[in-house]
């Protein structure tokens, strides 16, 4: 099968290279070297899944939606930085542009879009094609396969939730409008990372849960969109129109994760769209009433979304039969 190393004498330089030049063509052969085991398997699945969701190495049509989400999240930040440079004013202090925590309004739009359209494919395609069976015939087990997929989704979502705000922080800092002093800078940095990770975790768990329940990508997308938007409308209606307890907001994924982000930034009662403080007389403004929830309640509700979403995925995959 395999050719042995063959000495070669390239024309014109035969005397100098005849003894040293080899064509290395060993062909298929046995392998007794080190093996990476489970960590290597997880790394490979995460890398492949990230590339798959971002459309890398795939035809152009698969790149459009994920990169559109990135553009939606990032372009406003680029515009703000441009304005800061051109206008030469402290835009945040002068309240001309939203603060870091208020930028999440743009990110939320991108997140909803990404979770609804792109994320379901990461689980659904493996089940439909049979790749899941291929993966589970390797050292991967169900739980570490799912953990790999969740990590891949969380990482790509983190690009949306952390990337643009981090870009704002760095750009403002360079431009001279950033936080005052190193300690303040670190505080903002930690808040950006923590808030981005929290939002990313909740959205990852919820969207994977919806995607695990059906083998049809379109149905999964509808499920994710209903979960994200529907939960917001229903809880808002229950609290505002039916005058129920504000604790109902725990069932609003977008709202509760946004509120958790506000608590991480140390602000309360902020309209998630980024419109500033709610009007006292506005009885039907989104976000109004969430400020009455305790920070512990908000944190637990956010973690509950992660836990319940993970439990649904695990329940579904434990029951999943693999053979034809």
């Amino acid at each position: 099968m395999s050719d042995p190393a063959v000495p070669v004498s390239p024309a014109g330089d035969a005397d100098n290279t005849a003894d040293t030049t080899r064509i290395i063509d060993q062909g298929y052969r046995s392998y007794d070297g080190p093996r990476t085991g489970l960590p290597g398997a997880v790394r490979s699945v995460v890398r492949y899944s990230v590339r798959h969701t971002l459309g890398l190495g795939r035809p152009a049509r698969h790149k459009i939606l994920p990169w559109l989400a990135v553009v939606i999240a990032l372009v406003p930040a680029v515009v703000f930085v441009g304005l800061a440079v051109v206008l030469d004013v402290d835009l945040i202090t002068d309240e001309i542009l939203p603060d870091y925590h208020q930028y999440y309004g743009f990110i939320t739009t991108a997140l909803f879009f990404y979770c609804g359209i792109v994320v379901p494919d990461i689980l659904v395609s493996d089940r439909r094609s049979g790749m899941l069976q291929m993966y589970l015939s390797t050292p991967l087990q169900r739980w570490n396969y799912l953990a790999s997929k969740a990590l891949a989704v969380a990482l790509t979502l983190a690009v949306l939730t952390i990337g643009p705000v981090l870009f704002l922080l760095v750009a403002y800092t360079i431009e001279g409008s950033g936080p005052d002093g190193f300690i303040e800078w670190i505080k903002i940095f930690v808040r950006i990372v923590a808030a981005g990770a929290a939002i990313s975790a909740a959205f990852t768990a919820a969207s994977l849960a919806a995607a695990s329940l059906t083998d049809r990508r379109a149905f999964a997308s509808v499920g994710v969109i209903l979960l994200l938007w529907g939960s917001g409308f229903v809880t808002l209606a229950l609290v505002e129109a039916a005058d129920m307890s504000a604790n109902i907001y725990a069932f609003d994924l977008g709202g509760i994760s946004d509120e958790f982000k506000n608590r991480i930034y140390g602000v309360e009662g902020i309209d998630p769209i980024g419109g500033g403080e709610p009007e006292p007389d506005d009885d039907f403004s989104p976000g109004a009433g969430r400020d009455s929830l305790s920070t512990t309640f908000v944190a637990v509700a956010n973690m509950a979304w992660v836990a319940v979403g993970s439990a649904v995925v695990w329940w579904r995959y434990r029951r999943l039969a693999l053979s034809r």
Binding site: M1, Q26, G27, Y28, R29, S30, Y31, D32, G33, P34, R35, T36, G37, L38, G40, A41, R43, S44, V45, Y48, G57, R58, P59, H62, S125, S129, G130, M131, Q133, M134, Y135, L136, S137, T138, P139, L140, Q141, L322, S323, R324
Partner: protein, 330 residues
């Protein structure tokens, strides 16, 4: 090298001078039973698979895929025990699966992925370092005859090429055992022949044990060293193929249908049955078993003479895998 893998009891070399895999059984089951509700997919199987190429044969629904899934630890048997390469798939599944390559029957290839990327990805998942996986993906695709096609996306490949890609990903990580579920499914006769040749070469030249699931008996006879035959979850036969099939199994008597006397073939058949022989008939050809060669010839001669029939051919009969299933059905 994994120290836990059973070591050879006797050294045993192939055509390239390299030792074969350990000369102990690669798979052993004891009373292995798998039920799905009222359906018994595997019925108290006691079998042993020896190194080399083992054919797992049976009709659709015989339990072949269920057995393969159990060997990978993807199914928890209802009862009984199973070891693969000396490991219990349920207790040491992760360790075992790192040593086993698998090519499922289903079409599992992501259409948009290039062949070399697919093979490399699964080699990495199987535990190869990234650079090694990249090199071996190309080498393996060259081995299966897809070297020039390795950069093509899988969706643009023919069925035969996709079957070869599945084989390539199964062997890329240099496993000790490869499980191939219907690897010739969907192939034309030429492609099927090439695939079987390739499977034989992989086992012989690289000392990789192969379990080849198929419902095509002639495929198994052609390429396999051992056979495990299943019928509706029951074990029909198990052992070296040379012991189970071959020459010396009765005679074949081909007669000429003549107008006068009419029905002479039927008369010969009836006479031989009446003599207590085991007679199979396909048109004007009778397969005779149940006595020694000379006695069969004598009885055939007498029956043909009595019926006024004419012989076109009389030959020693070769026992086939089909006979195993017929015997099992009786």
């Amino acid at each position: 090298m994994d120290e836990s893998v059973p070591q050879p009891q006797t050294e045993h070399r192939n055509g390239t001078g390299r030792p074969y895999a350990p000369r102990v059984s690669i798979v052993e089951t004891q009373a292995l039973t798998q039920r799905f509700g009222a359906t018994v997919a595997l019925d108290a199987l006691d079998l042993t698979m020896q190194p080399g190429v083992t054919g797992l044969v049976g009709a659709n629904g015989a339990g072949k895929t269920t057995l393969l899934n159990a060997m990978l630890g993807l199914r928890v048997p209802t009862s009984g025990s199973l070891t693969v390469l000396g490991h219990d798939p349920l207790k040491a599944g992760q360790r075992l699966r790192a040593m086993v390559g698998f090519a499922p029957e289903r079409n599992v290839l992501p259409d948009e992925m290039r062949a070399v990327d697919f093979v490399r990805h699964l080699a990495e998942v199987q535990g190869l370092p990234r650079s090694e996986a990249r090199n071996r993906a190309s080498d393996t695709l060259w081995l299966v005859g897809l070297g020039e096609e390795r950069l093509r996306t899988l969706g643009t490949m023919s069925t035969g090429q996709r079957q070869r890609v599945k084989l390539a990903q199964a062997i890329a990580s240099d496993p000790k055992l490869v499980l191939l579920d219907e690897p010739t499914d969907g192939l034309d006769p030429v492609q099927r022949s090439e695939m079987l040749t390739l499977i034989g070469e992989i086992s012989r030249d690289f000392s990789i044990n192969v379990v080849l699931s198929s419902h095509q008996l002639e495929e198994v006879e052609r390429v396999c060293d051992n056979v495990v035959a299943l019928d509706a979850g029951r074990l029909v036969a198990c052992g070296p193929i040379s012991d189970l099939v071959g020459a010396g199994e009765g005679i074949t008597l081909e007669l000429v249908e003549v107008a006068e006397p009419a029905g002479s073939v039927g008369a010969v058949e009836a006479a031989l049955r009446a003599a207590g022989l085991d007679v199979g008939r396909r048109e004007a050809t009778l397969a005779l078993r149940g006595a020694g060669f000379e006695e069969l010839c004598d009885r055939a001669r007498d029956a043909v003479a009595a019926a006024g029939a004419r012989i076109r051919r009389l030959d020693t009969r070769r026992r086939t895998l089909e006979d195993l299933f017929e015997d099992g059905a009786r």
